[in-house]
Each structure stands twice: as structure tokens, then as C-alpha cells.
Amino acid sequence: MRVGVKLVLVAAVVVAAGVMIGFYVSNLTTLAGSPAYSLPVQNVNGHPVVNLEIQTVAAVGPQLSRNPDWVSYLVRNTSGQWKRETVWSLPANATVHVTIYNFDGASGLRNPFLARPQGMAGNRIMVDGKPTDAVDPNEASHTFAVPALGIILAIPGVADDAKDQCGYAPCPMSNAHRTIKFTFHTTTPGHFRWQCFVPCAAGWIDGFGGPMQTIGYMDGFLNVKA
């Protein structure tokens, strides 16, 4: 084979590899391995309002993932089904009412600072119907945080001795759970990462691997659109 042909082949392979790496990185950072779910928007007195219902489960189960034992967030869609979709589209300048049903047990916060709810309306959350300014760091199970919007809140866990604990998700409301409610407001359009700050990936070194490092389980994006 002539040297020129060899050079062209090598250049073609290098370019192809570069393009594939580019696609991979782009896919990883923007799309997020999880389909975007557009939350239905209600119009209340001319103001967009969104109700976001999510649940946190200790084991996502074989129906929703090839990794049934992974911890995960799920979102309830308009037909009432729980889906493992963590990229959510929201309108800008909207009021977002969030309800989190947590079916997982407590594992504690590494940094108690995260126990103070911040960034939502009134810097306060409702835990099982009671207004709460701080969650006991040792009772926290997960967090829901959108660092770029300043939103941080700890989610208290189900007691270790609670009856009817959920096995695999999706978990019915008859299982033991905690209910957390809060409201926040979106402002300008943007692409905001959200995540859990508790290293909750059981079975991985220090709880950091698997679902903590894979989009679609314990983290995702808020795509705020104009």
C-alpha cells in the first residue's frame, strides 16, 4: 500500500475516533442518558404553575432499570405512572410545587449544612405535613439540590423499624414513606443540574459509584425554557 494511502487511512481513523468521542462527551453532558420529560403546565391567573411529583426509592427494580438494586429518583407522569426520567423541562418564571415521596431509609448527611432547606419559598419545607426549618442530619436519606439555583433540601428517611417497607420500585403509597413538599420559582431559561448529595449508592466504594455517577438515577437536569 502506498504511503499516501496509508496516511489518508490513518487520518480518517483519527477523525472518526474524534467525532465519536465528541458525540459521546456531548451526549454525556447535555442529554443525559435519560429522555427529557416535559411537565404539564397549568395557567393560574396568567401565571404558569407546575406540579412535580417525584419519589426516591432504595431499589429501582427490574421493571424500570437493568440495574434493579440501584437507588433512584422517579417522576410521576400525566398518566400516573412512575418513570425513571430525571431530565425535566419546566417553563421559565413559573411556580413549581414539588412533592417528594421518600421510601428509603436514613443514612445521614456528610455535611450537616445541607440539613437546612434553602432556595425554596420561605426557605422552608413541609415534612409529613409539618413545616420544617431543619432536618436532623442523621435522619436524612437523600437530598434534592439544584446548586445553580441555590436549592438544597435534605429528605428524611423512613424509620428502620417501619412496617411495609418498599422492596422494588415503583412503590405504592401503602408502603412506608415520608412526604416532603416545597415550592420554588424558576426564573431565566437555562440548563440546571440537580443531584443528591448523600453518597447513597449502596454496594459501591464509599457510596459514590453506580447511580451516583450515572445520569438518570440520583441526578439529572432542569431544562428551564422560555
Binding site: 450537616p112 426549618d133 436532623d136 453518597p199 451516583m212 455517577q213
Partner: protein
């Protein structure tokens, strides 16, 4: 004997003093370029004048650029002069200069010159480092400690956010680094999980955040400004999102901010004040999570 018709033509006799020409051209170019670089280019080099350490880094970078400029000029002059003067002529004769190899005078000059430059930079760098650490992390037992009173701030890295704890303000913690102007700050950088690197760009401070290690760095703030903080160590999935802004504010604004934070912080203070043995958070310079909290 008849001449060999295939032999290369003999090089013409060359009595030109190439060395002197190169030196003169180098001196002229250096005399023009060096002050221009020092005055117009040096101050453009990051990180800027956001802190005393930043200003010193700009000075250090300017000085090194100024030292490098004559060396670059020498290389450029030598290269261009060599291309113009030493090549094959149209007649086929090779125009070559005098050999450098074996010229002991040039060798001695080269060795002495480079040695002086390297030793000067080593001495200068050590002097600059020992003044105040030059904005770098110095580990748990810093050698270069600036004098005077310092405000302590603990920088805590966690996948994927930095938070900042202020021991002198009752232990309040914030997810934005706010510092008073014209203040010496002692940063205690650590991590709760993997290795991060705290980098306050415009302040000229960069220190690794290692789990279980108290990495101390110093910075003296100047006038009010906004600066960028980002993680400079690939630390997992959301490393690229581990950044935010910090602020240097005047003293009145800082105390107002601190009072506001204390009010917000009051709700979790009881948990923070618990002794570590009772499940509370340790509150020393180094933040170490309790062993039972190390996995989810």
C-alpha cells in the same frame, strides 16, 4: 593532476564575523522587545490583581517573561541569521559558518549563562514562596505563614459543590465564599469524599482538597470584587459543573451578610453544636465524616 569534475565546489573564503553580527542583532532586538514585553504584556498574564498573592503572581510571571524574552530573541536571531547566511548557493557551493562544536569560549558562556538564570529563578521562586505561600496549598503544617491576624475559613469540597465554614463567626456555613476586603485569610481546604481542588481564580489561590487532609493556603484580599471558584481536579460525573462565584465585599457588607447567615444558620446550629461522640459534626480544622456515614 587533473581536477575531479564531480567534486563539490570549494566554499568561498569567508572572513565575515558572524558571531559579532548575531550578538549585535540579538542585543538590538532584546533591547527593543524586553521592555515592550515587560510593560505591555506582563500585566495581561493571569490571575490579575484580585489579591496580594495574585499581584505577586502577576509580578512573578512578568519577571519570568522578561527573563525569557532575550533568550527567545537569541534563538530567533540565530535561526533567521542561519537560514539567511548558511545555505547552498545557486552555484551549488555550501555556505557554512564557523563550527560551534569545540569552541570552548562559547561553551563556557552557555553553561555559565544558563546556570546563572536557573539559579536565579530557583532563588527567586523560593523567596517568593516563603513570603506567604504564593497562594498555593501548603499542607497541614504550612512553612510560609504570613504575619498578622488572619480570618479562618474552612473550604469543604463534596461531589459536586464547595461550601465554606467560618469558625470565627460561630461556625456559620455558606455555599458562597464571601470575604471581607483588605483581610488576611487562612483557608483550610478539605474534602468529604474524593480529591477536589479549590481554585479561586482571580484571587490566585489554588489548593488540593483531599479527604481527611487539612490543606492550608493563605490569601490577602484587596478591594471588593466578584471572583470565580471552580474545581481544578477531575472529580467525577459533575466535575464540570462544580463552580460558582465568590465575593469580596467591604467590611460593613461582610458583617451584614454574616448576620443574615447566622439567622438562617440558627435552625441547624443545634445539630452542628452536638459533640462528635453524640453524632454531631466535628468542628475542627479538618472535617472528617464519622465512619458510619461513609457509605449510603
Amino acid at each position: 593532476m587533473a581536477a575531479n569534475p564531480n567534486a563539490a565546489p570549494a566554499p568561498p573564503s569567508d572572513r565575515t564575523n558572524h558571531g559579532m553580527r548575531v550578538v549585535v542583532a540579538w542585543l538590538v532586538l532584546s533591547a527593543i522587545a524586553t521592555p515592550l514585553v515587560a510593560v505591555f504584556v506582563g500585566h495581561l498574564i493571569p490571575p490579575g490583581n484580585g489579591s496580594s498573592q495574585g499581584t505577586e503572581q502577576v509580578f512573578d510571571n512578568t519577571l519570568m517573561l522578561t527573563v525569557i524574552t532575550p533568550i527567545l530573541c537569541l534563538l530567533a536571531v540565530f535561526f533567521v541569521y542561519g537560514l539567511r547566511s548558511f545555505h547552498a548557493s545557486s552555484s551549488g557551493a555550501v555556505l557554512d559558518g564557523p563550527p560551534l562544536r569545540g569552541d570552548s569560549q562559547i561553551q563556557i558562556l552557555w553553561i555559565v549563562g544558563t546556570s546563572v538564570i536557573v539559579l536565579f529563578l530557583a532563588g527567586f521562586g523560593t523567596f517568593e514562596l516563603l513570603q506567604n505561600g504564593a497562594g498555593g496549598g501548603q499542607g497541614p503544617d504550612p512553612i510560609a505563614v504570613p504575619g498578622g491576624q488572619k480570618m479562618q475559613v474552612q473550604v469543604i469540597g463534596q461531589q459536586w459543590q464547595f461550601t465554606y465554614r467560618y469558625p470565627s463567626l460561630g461556625g456559620i456555613e455558606s455555599n458562597q465564599l464571601v470575604l471581607p476586603a483588605d483581610t488576611d485569610v487562612e483557608l483550610h481546604v478539605t474534602s468529604l469524599d474524593v480529591i477536589h481542588s479549590f481554585w479561586a481564580y482571580e484571587l490566585g489561590v489554588k489548593a488540593d482538597a483531599n479527604p481527611g487532609v487539612d490543606n492550608v493556603a493563605y490569601v490577602k484580599t484587596k478591594s471588593p470584587q466578584v471572583f470565580h471558584v471552580r474545581c481544578a481536579e477531575l472529580c467525577g460525573l459533575w466535575h464540570g459543573y462544580m463552580y460558582n462565584n465568590g465575593r469580596v465585599v467591604d467590611s460593613a457588607q461582610f458583617h451584614s451578610w454574616a448576620s443574615q447567615q447566622e439567622k438562617l444558620y440558627a435552625a441547624i446550629k443545634p445539630f452542628m453544636d452536638k459533640p462528635e461522640a453524640d453524632g454531631g459534626a466535628p468542628f475542627g480544622h479538618t472535617y472528617l465524616p464519622a465512619p458510619e456515614r461513609r457509605a449510603g
